[in-house]
């Protein structure tokens, strides 16, 4: 154990302090060797003594929030093996040998790789343009009256620019808080991709419902969108762009997605029917499609009436 490093967990990036032979004092007071500014840390919290025989002695100095090693409180204890998990107040730290292995280097998204979709300003701009195009197309396809260009611009500002802008803003603030970094180009690229995907999913849902004369494809895509696709996209972003661990990324993705997903899911007709199993309206398959692709065979009137006789009575709600 030639040299020992104290890894102090901090938001986003860890802090590393070499522990030399002799005494190292840790605490909140400014006369310590390692200063931890966390309010749960005592002014003089912990003393680390590296002995000549390579053993490490830890002496707790704190009356409040005493030091814990491997989750056990200590007064004074000598250790010979590393790593050691140390808790000082609420600060997590590890004593590691200098030769402790580190994870492989992750390549930066975009930089030095022009083909990489994320992070390259050209891709980001292209995707923003694509989103505007899809937004404009959405406006055009749902306009049944003659419209002015100013109407289109208002729609694009309201529905596309505002939506993408709001998501980029919120996610960039979260990213700053989580990992202390801004990745604006990557964020714009990712949000645009999700925006484009949402347009595809929406179109697919209606046509699948029509194709199968059923409502489960639309419901599946609706719930899948909020429960899997959005959290999945955020998790992938956090893993590959923010370089967080998988577990942390998944937990954070669920946390970030929940304010978007929960209100939509709770207000969906399907969830409402779980909370209240009665509906005064008829939930029939209203979807119509120009493609007119349907798997169900057409029947003549007599066959329809014959089959309609087998339509079961409605079920009573509780």
């Amino acid at each position: 154990m030639d040299s020992v490093i104290l890894e102090i967990n901090a938001r986003g990036l860890h802090r590393y302090e070499p522990i030399k032979t002799g005494i190292t004092r840790i605490g909140r007071a400014l006369d310590n060797d390692i200063i931890l500014s966390d309010p749960t840390v005592a002014p003089h919290h912990l003393k680390i003594i590296r002995h000549a025989d390579q053993s490490i002695e830890l002496i707790n100095l704190a009356a409040v929030n005493p030091t814990r090693v491997d989750d056990q409180p200590i007064d004074s204890e000598t250790f010979r093996g590393l790593p050691l998990q140390i808790t000082v107040g609420r600060v997590q730290a590890q004593l590691l040998p200098r030769d402790y292995p580190v994870a492989a280097t992750r390549p930066l998204a975009g930089n030095g790789n022009r083909a990489h979709l994320f992070g390259h300003v050209g891709w980001a701009l292209l995707l923003v343009l694509l989103c505007l195009l899809v937004g404009g197309l959405d406006f055009f396809l749902s306009s049944y009256n003659s419209f002015k260009w100013s109407d289109l611009l208002k729609y694009l500002l309201r529905e596309t620019v505002f939506t993408i802008g709001a998501f980029v803003l919120v996610l960039s603030i979260l990213e700053r808080l989580l990992v202390n970094r801004w990745e604006i180009r990557q964020l714009v690229t990712s949000v645009c991709l999700v925006y484009l995907l949402s347009a595809v999913v929406s179109m697919l849902a209606d046509n699948l419902d029509y194709l199968l004369s059923a409502s489960w494809p639309g419901s599946l895509l609706y719930f899948g969108w909020y429960l899997a696709i959005i959290p999945g996209a955020i998790a992938l972003y956090l893993i590959h762009i923010s370089h967080l661990t998988r577990e942390r990324s998944l937990a954070l993705a669920l946390l970030i997605a929940s304010p978007i997903a929960l209100p939509s899911i709770l207000q969906s007709a399907q969830m409402q029917s779980l909370f209240d199993n009665f509906s005064p309206t008829a939930n029939y398959h209203y979807q119509l499609s120009y493609l007119n692709w349907h798997l169900r065979d057409s029947v003549d009137i007599d066959t329809f009436i014959e089959q309609a006789r087998k339509l079961e009575a409605g079920t009573a709600a509780d």
């Binding site: 055009f140 396809l141 749902s142 306009s143 049944y144 009256n145 003659s146 419209f147 209606d206 004369s213 199993n277 009665f278 509906s279 005064p280 309206t281 008829a282 939930n283 029939y284 398959h285 209203y286 979807q287 119509l288 499609s289 120009y290 007119n292 349907h294 169900r296 065979d297 057409s298 029947v299 003549d300 009137i301 007599d302 329809f304 009436i305 089959q307 309609a308 006789r309 339509l311 079961e312 009575a313 409605g314 079920t315 009573a316 709600a317 509780d318």
Partner: protein, 411 residues
Amino acid sequence: MFLWWVFATPAAALDSREIYQQNQDRVFQVQVLNRETGKKSSIGSGFIVGDGHQLATNYHVVSQVVAEPERFYITYVSNGGEEGELSLLAMDVAHDLALLGAQQELGKPIEMSELPPRGAPIFAMGNPLDLGLTIAVGTNGGILNQTDDSRILFSGSLNPGMSGGPTFNEFGAAIGINVATARNDISFIVPSRFLSELIAAAGSNGFDEGVDLQAEVARQVLAYENRYIEQLLAGTWPDLELRQFRLPGVISPTVRCWDNSARLSAVARYQRYQIRCANQNNVYLDEDNHFVGELVYEYYWLESTELNPIQFYNLYQSLNKDQIESKPGRDIVTNFNCETWFVEVSSQTFKSNLCRREYREYPGMSDLLFIAALTGHADKGFFVTLTMTGVDFDAALPLIQKFLENIEWTP
């Protein structure tokens, strides 16, 4: 010669004061009381018929007793303040009539008569708003065939509490029973012939104790609806034309069709035409003001030469969301059960949805929603909606069949 002249002279016409005086002791307030509180839950009017032990009123006045006989009971209060309990002897739900029985004789029955000529004065008596017995003067507007001949139009003012009271001709005979109002001196009377039929069919003992009165209500409504459907099926249906379709038109005298086309914006790039046909057979079902007996069919035509097919189908789909207007609660009806078919009608394919829901307390009674949308055209859309409430589902299916068979595509 003199004697002949005396007997041949028609009875003298009476004015409202004389009719009131003649009948003030024969028209009663009918009250439905809560057994627990002893207080009025609803009020109406009634008048002496039959053998003098019977009062005629509306079914809707006493429907609470039908739904919850363990909670409510019926009493009468005379103009002089005498009170007594009444029992339900018979009911004609389809025509909103009920016959009530008293232990003791209530007085001399009111004579009944046929409807006077249109425009003749008629007089409605009753207890409006619990304010005391009054008489309202108006004229006979004739039998309304859009109500299956079950209503007379009365151009006079009926108010809540007068339901079940008699309507007199100018000779003091009851020509009908007050039943409903549309305000502004447009009111409705049930012709007395339905009451005469009810009195003739009723026994003197009423319903057996413990009998399921709601099942009896359902039986009567379904019998009425089945007769109505049979009449519709037996008739020849005139057609109407809507763009490229020839469609069932006014399929019964009870039906009225209206142009219901929405006023489109001046910059709309499509045309939309809508015709709505509906009957007026509103059969009162229960105290929560649920009515059944409705038959509504609507046609929507949509076309555009300016919208592309995707735009057109976005619009077409957004309009394909018709529902039954009546929305009773979970205690009244079940959820809808729906199924989808693609049905070939006159060489065209319609995406068709059929939905049904049942009345929980009225066995065999269903609401039915049928909606069929034309498919396969890039610039034309058409859907037909047919709704019926309070029907026997199986009995109503032949009507849908005939309806579809009478739709003709005219390219």
